[in-house]
C-alpha cells in the first residue's frame, strides 16, 4: 500500500508542477468555465422568469441540476476522462507494454497519471456557485449525504462505461470518437430526465446511462 501511496504522491506532484508552470493556461481555462456558468445561469433565469415552474423544476432546481452536471464533468475529467484517454493513446501508440512491465498495477496507478489541477479549481468554483445559488437550509444532512453519494455513483458509472469503450481500442484501433462522445452525451443530458420523452428516457437510462450521471444527485436533494 505504501508503494502506491508513494507513486500517487509522485504523479500528483508532477501534475501540480505542470499546473504551476502554465498559469496563464489555467487562468484562461478557469475563465472559460466561469463564463459558461454565468451564461447558463442567466439563460435559465430568463426562461424560468417567463415560465415559472416546469415539470416540478423551478429556476433554482434547474440551475442546481446544471451545476451538478458541471461538477460531475469536472470530477470525471480529473478521475476518468484524461486517464482513460492516456490509456487509449498508450494502446494506439504501442506503448502499453512499457506500463505493463512496471512492477505496479496500471489499473491502480491510472487514476493519478494525468490529473489536471485546473479541474480541481473548477470543482471548487462549481461548489461555491452551488452554495451561492441554492438555498441549502431547505435540506437536511441525510439528503445532502445521499446527493453526494449519488454523484459518486454517477462518476463510477461513467468510469465503467468509459472503461468498456477504451478497452474496445484493443480490437478496433483508434476510437477517440467514442471517448469524445461522452462529452456530447453530457450536452444532451443538460436537460433533466423529466423533460425527456419516454423512449429517450429509456435509451439514456438503461443503454447509455447518461441521465444517471448527475440527475439522481439533484433528485435526492429535492426528493423529486
Amino acid at each position: 500500500m505504501s508503494k502506491y501511496a508513494r507513486i500517487y504522491k509522485i504523479y500528483l506532484k508532477m501534475n501540480l508542477y505542470r499546473f504551476l508552470i502554465y498559469r496563464n493556461k489555467v487562468m484562461m481555462a478557469f475563465l472559460a468555465n466561469v463564463t459558461y456558468t454565468i451564461t447558463f445561469v442567466l439563460g435559465v433565469k430568463f426562461v424560468f422568469d417567463e415560465l415559472g415552474e416546469v415539470g416540478g423544476y423551478t429556476a433554482e432546481i434547474f440551475i442546481a441540476y446544471m451545476i451538478m452536471m458541471q461538477l460531475w464533468w469536472s470530477i470525471h475529467t480529473v478521475l476518468v476522462r484524461k486517464n482513460m484517454q492516456f490509456l487509449a493513446k498508450a494502446i494506439n501508440k504501442g506503448q502499453l507494454d512499457f506500463y505493463l512491465l512496471k512492477p505496479v498495477s496500471l489499473r491502480k496507478s491510472l487514476p493519478v497519471i494525468s490529473v489536471r489541477f485546473v479541474d480541481i479549481i473548477i470543482i471548487i468554483f462549481d461548489l461555491c456557485a452551488m452554495v451561492l445559488l441554492v438555498d441549502f437550509s431547505q435540506f437536511d444532512y441525510a439528503d445532502m449525504l445521499l446527493s453526494v453519494f449519488f454523484l459518486g455513483v454517477g462518476v463510477a458509472i461513467t468510469y465503467f462505461f468509459v472503461s468498456v469503450i477504451v478497452n474496445m481500442t484493443f480490437w478496433i484501433g483508434r476510437n477517440d470518437f467514442f471517448t469524445l462522445l461522452i462529452g456530447e452525451l453530457a450536452e444532451i443530458v443538460q436537460v433533466p430526465a423529466v423533460f425527456f420523452p419516454p423512449v429517450l428516457k429509456i435509451l439514456f437510462t438503461f443503454f447509455v446511462p447518461a441521465l444517471l450521471f448527475a440527475g439522481p444527485a439533484v433528485e435526492a436533494l429535492w426528493r423529486l
Binding site: 502554465y22 496563464n24 493556461k25 472559460a32 430568463f46 416546469v54 415539470g55 450536452e187
Partner: protein, 241 residues
C-alpha cells in the same frame, strides 16, 4: 466533432422546449414550430459565424510561420479570410443539409418568403464579416499568449457572444433594458437578427436600421483590427514562441 456537439445541444433544446410546449401553445410569441425553427437556424449560423481565424493565426505565430505569410503578395488578414471562408462554406453547407433535413423530418415542410431568404443571406454574409473581425482581434493576442490560452479565451468569449447573440435563448426572453442595450451592440446581429429577418419577425424599417448598425460595426471593427494588428505585431519574434 463541433457538428456533433451542435447536434447534441440541439437535441437538448428540442427536448426542453418540446416538454414546455406540451402545456402551452405559445411562449413570448413563439410556437413550438417557431422555437424549433429558431434553434435549427441557431445551429446553422453557429457554424457560419464561428470564425477560426484566431486559431490559425495563433498556429502561424507559434510555429514561427508568420513571416512566411507576410512576404506573400496578399495581406495576412485577407489570407486568413480566404482560408477561413473555405472552411465556413463547407461547414455551413453540411449544417444546412443536416439541420434543414431535421426540420423537414419534424414538420414535413420548410417554407419561407423569398425576400426573407434573400435578406437572410445578406445578413449571414455581413454577420460572418463581423464574426471574422472579432476573431481577428482575438488572434492578435497570440503574440502574447500560448495556443491553449488562445483556445480558452476563444471559448470563453465565444460563449458570451453566443449568449448575447440569442444562441441560448431568443433575445425576446431577455429583460427589456438589456434588449435595448443589445440593439446597439454587434452581438445580436450574429444570430438573432438574421433569424428574425428570415422568419418575418422584423420587417421594413427595422431591417434597414439593423443593416445600418451592422455595417457601422463592421467598419468600426475593420479599423480596430487594422490598428490593433499594427500595435500587436511589434511583439512578433518571427522564430515562434
Amino acid at each position: 466533432m463541433p457538428l456533433l456537439g451542435s447536434l447534441a445541444i440541439f437535441i437538448a433544446y428540442a427536448v426542453f422546449w418540446g416538454f414546455i410546449f406540451q402545456y402551452r401553445d405559445e411562449v413570448k410569441g413563439y410556437t413550438y414550430e417557431h422555437m424549433i425553427t429558431y434553434f435549427v437556424f441557431v445551429k446553422i449560423l453557429e457554424g457560419v459565424g464561428n470564425s477560426m481565424a484566431a486559431f490559425k493565426m495563433s498556429d502561424h505565430i507559434h510555429e514561427g510561420m508568420l513571416s512566411n505569410l507576410l512576404i506573400k503578395p496578399l495581406k495576412i488578414k485577407a489570407w486568413l479570410l480566404t482560408e477561413d471562408l473555405g472552411r465556413v462554406i463547407f461547414d455551413g453547407m453540411i449544417r444546412i443539409i443536416i439541420f434543414l433535413g431535421i426540420l423537414f423530418f419534424l414538420f414535413g415542410e420548410i417554407s419561407f418568403e423569398l425576400s426573407g431568404v434573400a435578406l437572410f443571406i445578406v445578413f449571414v454574409v455581413l454577420s460572418y464579416l463581423l464574426s471574422f473581425n472579432i476573431s481577428f482581434i482575438m488572434a492578435c493576442f497570440s503574440f502574447w499568449l500560448d495556443p491553449s490560452s488562445i483556445a480558452s479565451m476563444h471559448f470563453a468569449l465565444r460563449r458570451i457572444f453566443h449568449f448575447l447573440a440569442g444562441g441560448v435563448v431568443p433575445i425576446v426572453f431577455f429583460p427589456e433594458f438589456s434588449q435595448e442595450i443589445l440593439k446597439y451592440l454587434p452581438f445580436k446581429y450574429l444570430i438573432n437578427t438574421p433569424i428574425d429577418v428570415l422568419s418575418g419577425r422584423i420587417k421594413g424599417g427595422e431591417i434597414g436600421v439593423a443593416l445600418i448598425i451592422l455595417v457601422v460595426w463592421i467598419i468600426t471593427l475593420e479599423i480596430a483590427t487594422h490598428l490593433f494588428f499594427k500595435f500587436s505585431y511589434k511583439a512578433n519574434e518571427a522564430v515562434g514562441i
